[in-house]
């Protein structure tokens, strides 16, 4: 969706501002593959995929930042996991376009870097199974998701009982969901729904202390930085996908 000749200068955010909320239930016009096999990832990660084809290896996206906003987390994770394909999914047209332009500019400023990150405009609440196979993803990120305070809008919340089944579907066993928010009510909502879901188990401090990603969750993203500037609280909850206890009990 970006222009043919990417600009080498970083995009300016003021050209890409957009109303904060986009209705995830509305029928927007999205480009999505009918099945994961039909997805052309080469377009998004040309260097990585070329290299891997040369070595006869098969790389696939393993980290997904849902509602990636302006893309701060992608850019932080890129050098930390140089061999992992990382994707941001963002529903807002201008915001996702900003991230695409930002990555294109970074790639041309720093040849051979930032090849492992990309952004797609899509509705993560509807199309995950079109992009990813069962158990394909290792990590899912929900950083500062839209709080949708009103009770009537709770069904728009990106974490809810029914959608957790889809997140569990695309995650491998042992895969991790990271959530962070400055809204206490939303934090409790997310932690509560994840705790109640039989396929997720909360990870304790002990388990997380060697995970280099944790400290990056607080202020890699634009939203996280805004909360810091306003001296807001930050609530973290991390969950691991486990195998279905229903089968463990019956077998």
């Amino acid at each position: 969706m970006t222009e043919a000749a990417p600009s080498t200068s970083l995009p300016q955010k003021r050209h890409y501002r957009q109303r904060a909320h986009s209705n995830p239930m509305a029928d927007h016009c999205f480009d999505y593959p009918q099945t994961p096999d039909e997805m052309d990832w080469f377009k998004h990660y040309p260097e990585m995929i070329k290299q891997n084809n040369d070595n006869n290896e098969n790389v696939q996206v393993e980290f997904l930042d849902i509602g990636c906003g302006y893309g701060g987390l992608l850019i932080t994770l890129s050098p930390m996991f140089p061999n992992t394909l990382i994707l941001g999914m963002e529903i807002r047209v201008k915001v996702s376009d900003y991230v695409m332009d930002r990555i294109a500019a970074l790639r041309s400023q720093h040849p051979s870097q930032y090849q492992n990150i990309a952004c797609i405009r899509s509705n993560a609440m509807k199309y995950l199974p079109n992009f990813f196979k069962k158990g394909q993803l290792k990590k899912l990120f929900f950083l500062y998701p839209d709080p949708h305070f009103k009770k009537a809008k709770h069904k728009w919340r990106i974490i809810n009982e029914c959608l957790l089944a889809e997140y569990a579907y695309v995650l491998a066993d042992g895969g991790i969901i990271y959530t962070i928010t400055d809204v206490k009510d939303l934090h409790e909502w997310m932690a509560d729904h994840l705790s109640k879901h039989p396929l997720f188990e909360r990870m304790g401090e002990e388990e997380l202390k060697d995970d280099p990603i944790i400290e990056k969750l607080y202020s890699s993203t634009e939203e996280g930085q805004k909360v810091t500037r306003n001296n807001g609280d930050k609530f973290l909850a991390v969950f691991k996908k486990i195998s279905d206890p229903y089968f463990n009990n019956t077998s």
Partner: protein, 365 residues
């Protein structure tokens, strides 16, 4: 009109009438109790027609739902034993082999009701983001298969339905109907005008039948143009409205109707290699009709006509009793299908607009 043929009983529901025909062709009309909280339902002026019907595999129970959100369960001798008020209008119901009743509501949620216990709270099994159009449960009782307006077929474990076993993806429009063959091949009919065959545990499409093949170009064009003008819907294929399946040995008969076409197309499907061949079609006199397939094909307009299959020929057969009974109610018959134009998405394209303006901005630098 909702029709169910199960355990040698034929159930016909239309308006607020429920008839059951025995194999002897005798029939009885069942009592439909009013809601237990009449005050509440006064507000609802959506009508009280029957919307869904289903029977348990062991024929212990039959259940119906109505537009005014009633769920009524009948026992073996056709007496109502439960009269439950649903929180949402039901779109599809079915019994699991353990006789738990599954109710898919307008919001895309599936609830499980224990019909043996009075006032038991239902359990939420799973949810789609859009309306569930059809739902079946595998004979082994281990999987619920649901399909929705968003092109998706979801295979969930049962009763641990928080665990999705697979998605069957490939349809390009809403999925209207599901059917499992005896060899466990899943058939799905869709607004994209196709019937697809699946290995549903692997999410693999095994074959596909394009049901628009038999439609004349000029007729297709006319219907497409009308839809465009009247509803601003742009399509190129006619949706499959109803798919009825009858299996004997390796041969499967598919009877298929398409949106706005007063015909029923008959296909033979080889259940081993899943090859489909066109057999014949039957012209229907009226534009609105219902039909069902048992060992025979019955078409209901304001009367009933029956057909027999003989190799590739279809012959009219008498069905006097059925016809006489149904004709008596002809003012009450309503023919609805699984394919509502509401299932189409009005696509508003805001990307092209944005990209155009961005191009202008960059060029004016």
């Amino acid at each position: 009109m909702v029709i169910l043929y199960e355990n040698n009983l034929l159930w016909c529901a239309f308006s607020r009438k429920l008839l059951v025909f025995h194999s002897s062709n005798e029939h009885e009309e069942l009592e439909i109790p009013e809601p237990e909280l009449p005050k509440e339902s006064v507000k609802e002026n959506n009508g009280k027609n029957i919307t869904c019907i289903t029977s348990s595999k062991d024929s212990e129970y039959t259940a119906i739902t109505t537009q005014n959100k009633q769920l009524i369960v009948y026992n073996k001798v056709f007496k109502p034993i439960r009269n439950i008020k649903l929180p949402k209008v039901a779109n599809k119901i079915c019994f699991a082999p353990n006789n738990e009743l599954l109710v898919a509501d307008k919001n895309g949620d599936v609830w499980a009701y224990n019909v043996n216990i009075d006032n038991e709270k239902p359990v939420l099994l799973l949810g789609h983001l859009s309306i569930i159009i059809d739902m079946i449960i595998s004979p082994c009782g281990k999987y619920i298969i649901t399909c929705d307006r968003d092109e998706k077929i979801r295979v969930s474990h049962y009763p641990n339905s928080y665990n999705i076993a697979m998605f069957c993806l490939g349809h390009k429009e809403f999925v209207t109907q599901l059917h499992l063959l005896k060899n466990n091949v899943l058939l799905s009919a869709s607004g994209d005008g196709t019937v697809r065959m699946w290995n549903y545990l692997e999410g693999k499409q095994l074959n596909m039948l394009d049901c628009n093949d038999r439609v004349e170009e000029s007729i297709l064009k006319k219907i497409v143009n009308e839809l465009h003008k009247e509803e601003e819907i742009d399509i190129s294929r006619l949706p499959v409205c109803n798919m009825q399946v009858q299996e004997n040995d390796n041969n499967v008969i598919l009877a298929i109707s398409l949106y706005k076409i007063p015909k029923i197309y008959l296909y033979k499907l080889n259940s081993e290699n899943l090859k489909c061949s066109y057999v014949n079609h039957i012209e229907v006199e009226k534009e609105n009709f219902s039909f069902f397939l048992s060992s025979r094909l019955y078409i209901i307009t304001d009367k009933v006509t029956g057909y027999n299959f003989n190799n590739n020929d279809v012959d009219l057969v008498a069905c006097k009793l059925l016809d006489e009974t149904i004709s008596r109610y002809k003012d009450l018959l309503n023919h609805s299908t699984n394919c509502s134009t509401l299932f189409y998405k009005k696509k508003h394209n805001n990307i092209e607009d944005y990209l155009f303006r961005k191009k202008q901005r960059l060029e004016s630098k």
